[in-house]
Amino acid sequence: MSFNRKDLLGLEHLDKTEIQTIIDSARPFKNMFTRSIKKAPALVGKTVVNLFYEPSTRTRTSFEVASKRLSADVVNIATATSSVVKGESLVDTAKTLEAMKADIIIIRHTLAGTPELLAKNLNASIINAGDGFHEHPTQGLLDLYTMYEKKKKIEGLKVLLVGDILHSRVAKSNIWALTKFGAKVRVAGPPTLIPGKISELGVEVFYNLDEAIKDVDVINILRIQMERQQENLFPSIHEYVELYQLTKERLAKAKPDVLIMHPGPMNRGIEITSEVADCSSAVINEQVTNGIAVRMAVLYLLAAARKGENYVHSN
């Protein structure tokens, strides 16, 4: 098995074999979760830093749990209480962390490309935990892993992404990974929330959810980012709910074995009804469990690749 990357910045530049290596490595980690002691010493003595410039509960916690289950030491930096508020630059903050011998820095930032900037300037391994509208690779990987686990293969699978594609880094990482594995990806949402050039990535665009939903194997519902409501990209929440909410009635038009996914956090009653979120086709909580396994795999592979120091630097 070989994986010689210093960083995980996105899924766009990983090839299919590398993604497959991560997915395959995640399964033994998931099996660990049923043991009485859910911990292995693989990352003993390593320091992992969570550097989050945006609010996050599940991703940060998931990385923290994943690191701890591998026996790494974890440091969480909440930027609101750090020197960032004193005006320290991003690279300086990260270099300070590196001087404290951080081996892996996990970064979330509002600006696309921030993880890449750090990767170029630091020797520590950088993991992108979401950068602007660009990518959220570990979410893409855990979505892929969940589909793989439930549907046994990705090739030929019809996957529908619903909602705010424009602002969604989850959608982008999903599209990069799924198309590499030969899935047929559809997106559905209001025209103002679907980037014009998205079809160039090999996805089919629908503006009518009822049409898009027919014969798909997986529906991945994206969060409506309420904080962007003031940009007036759709007339009203009410109208969005009317046209794009996943309801029991809409779901009746889909295949009976359709898989329902959501990266969280959910706005119940907006992009998805509570009834659908809690139905037996929904695997939203399993996604959270799988997220830990996938992040353990990423941490393990990056940490093991560091030993050789002959990895490919990010371009």
């Binding site: 033994p28 292995a40 693989a42």
Partner: protein, 180 residues
Amino acid sequence: MELLNYKQIDNEIEKLANEILKRNSDIESLAIVGIQTKGVNVAKRLSEKIKKIKDLSKEIPFGILDITLYRDDLHEAGADIPTIKDTDIPFDVNNKNIILVDDVLYTGRTIRSALDVLKDFGRPKSIQLAVLVDRGYRELPIQPDYVGLVHHTKNRICVNMGNEISDSDKVYVENENGSL
């Protein structure tokens, strides 16, 4: 250089099985765990042999164990990263007498790691080590409870066998150039 042919392998496994039974009269508490990957094959054969000798109708609790995440040389792995294989111990290890099985015992580091893995599943009553071949050159204070062949060598020993007996089974010492 060939050390054991298929018949001799079977004889060694029978010997191991008898010795294990001599020390473990309580069959109910017995469990077998094979270390990935070749130790699993030896463990499977051993389990079948014990079943046959005691004429048991039910299976002996059986587990497989991968030590990758517990290795002490992970920090030197470099670009060729060891693949994590399955660990599956589908029974409660507490109060069991566990026979830990590997194909070849050498430095003892694999066994050290395997003991760490088992510890994370609970507290067995005892752990006993059975190996098909002892190659010598230990680096840790670990010794087998049951051993088939003893052959001290610095060269690699290969064990060619699956879960079922076959006349192509063999155990041999690899020469420095990697041939038979």
